[in-house]
């Protein structure tokens, strides 16, 4: 009986993380083994097989150029995962550095926060579109653009944490015992920022997938030859009135992935910060 109670408690606390995590692992497996799962070459154009509705050969049908949509959706998971994970890793590293510096040193604060405010003064999606167009298409450049638009949020989060942690007693006593600024920042302040950062990382993953999908939908950012979920929907858009299958499935792929990341984020948040529940 007691064992059962323990199990229920465990599932209540970690259940969502386990379910969402399993789905995410599956998506990662699909991305890694895409060539084995895909039934066709995702980029093979075949005019004679164009605009076919889903059947046994083409599980999700073919697009206007006769490319197999199932294989394109499978391959599309790669670019979504690569971009969202790398963008958030870079954004967390750079944003945390900016936040730590401007929270700790007041001279850095004035300049940094004004720049961040200026970036923040433009709607995120519009800014991302402009930046991507300025830099031109390419996966690396797209990662750089999306990292920039994510910086203000993260650096503000860290800055506000630092401002309150800075006044706490353990920092005071470290300073009194002669610790250097560098040591105080990395040893006494940064570790206390970890849990909000982990929550932010998990939430950032889902929002980045959506932003990136919007950009590929509009046809900016990525090399159009790379299969991406947003791109598949963008290409199928003009024919949706007759062939809805061209847009539907890629949308499901986006929804499942984003849903898994957000549930994971919520689960992690509740474990790390139960007050917010």
């Amino acid at each position: 009986m007691q064992k059962n109670d323990k199990f229920i408690f465990f599932m209540k606390r970690y259940g969502r993380i386990i379910i969402a995590g399993t789905v995410l692992v599956l998506i990662i497996v699909i991305a890694v083994f895409a060539p084995l799962i895909a039934t066709h070459d995702p980029n093979k154009v075949n005019i004679y097989e164009a605009k076919i509705t889903p059947n046994n050969e083409y599980l999700m049908g073919t697009d206007a150029y006769g490319r197999d949509i199932f294989s394109r959706v499978i391959y599309g998971s790669r670019i979504s995962l690569i971009i969202s994970i790398s963008v958030n890793v870079f954004a967390i590293i750079i944003g945390t550095t900016i936040g730590l510096l401007s929270g700790y040193f007041s001279f850095a604060d004035k300049i940094m926060m004004r720049i961040m405010e200026a970036i923040n003064a433009m709607p995120m999606l519009l800014l991302a579109i402009v930046l991507v167009t300025v830099l031109g298409p390419g996966t690396g450049k797209l990662i750089a653009c999306l990292t920039i638009v994510n910086l203000p949020g993260i650096s503000r989060l860290v800055r506000s944490q630092v401002l309150s942690i800075k006044e706490q007693e353990h920092v005071e006593s470290a300073r009194a015992s002669g610790a250097s600024n560098f040591r105080i920042i990395f040893k006494y302040i940064l570790p206390l920022c970890y849990s909000p950062l982990i929550i932010r990382f998990a939430n950032g993953l889902s929002s980045t997938i959506l932003t990136q999908a919007s950009l590929s939908f509009l046809g900016v950012g990525l090399d159009p030859r790379i299969p991406s979920w947003g791109g598949i929907i963008g290409e199928g858009r003009t024919l949706v009135m007759v062939y809805p299958h061209m847009c539907t499935y890629a949308g499901f792929a986006i929804i499942i992935t984003v849903l898994a990341f957000s549930i994971l984020g919520d689960g992690v948040r509740d474990v790390l910060d139960p007050k917010l529940r």
Binding site: A121, L125, I129, V130, L218
Partner: protein, 315 residues
Amino acid sequence: MIRFIIKRLLSVVPVLIIVVTLVFFLMRVIPGDPATLMLGDDAEPEDILAFKEMMGLNDPMIKQYIDYVKNILTGDWGDSLYYKTPVFDNIINRMEPTILLMLYSTLLSVCIGIPFGIIAAKYRNTVVDYGLTTISIFGNSIPVFWLGIMMIYLFGVKMMWFPVQGYIFIEKGGLWQALYSITLPSFALGFQHISSIARYTRSTMLDVMNNDYVRTARAKGLTETKVYYKHALKNSLAPVVTLVGFSMAGMLGGSVVTETVFNIPGMGKLAYDSLMRRDYTQEQAIILFVAILFILTNILLDIIYKWLDPRIEFD
């Protein structure tokens, strides 16, 4: 309060200077030469040179920048490279659908989101609550453009309830026609905000219910309904107002995608089209305009918030 407003307005100046500078230099490094793009690939080299001279594209960057700032301050925002008409007029002409779209989406998300949040809070940890929470997590995961396309297919093509594309200006068809023509896009744009507003209302509502004055109200013997709607709801709405403002500002960005999907001749579509045409005088103007709108919205929010809850201090 007036001191607060003035202080808040003054703090915007440096941000605006940085925005203007960023926008100017961003637009200049866009690959692709506007002159060739405007005149076509087979234009004579002399024509291109003359065009560049006319537009001031041959001057050194610094001089261009100083001229630009001067013109902005004197209210002369320049002409669009593509339309050849003043950029500011183009924006004003395109504002109506975008503003209406924003207001309509906000109205939808508030009218659906807040009641959902209240119900979820009231029936906390029951099937109703879990159901609504699941729906709202879903709402946050659906891409706006995909939802828009699916709605076009379902309600436009299959059921023929709503027009599929375009916008009817108020001048032409009256307010109702205009609203009718943007019902689908407003719903698509507002959908994710419905879920975030519902979730937020739920959590602030639960927060408020733990307060002493709610207990006092209950102890006085008020009915549960009265406690709920008279005492708790009013106090939990202050933070929700901020969120509504934030989502309105976010819709300015989302309108780029929504207007492209539904082919609405608004500011968002203009922003996207101008970027694709390398019409950078127009693009600069839109970004600047949107940034000013965005900043003003935020100030207005701060003021409303301060008015609702005078204890708040902004640094």
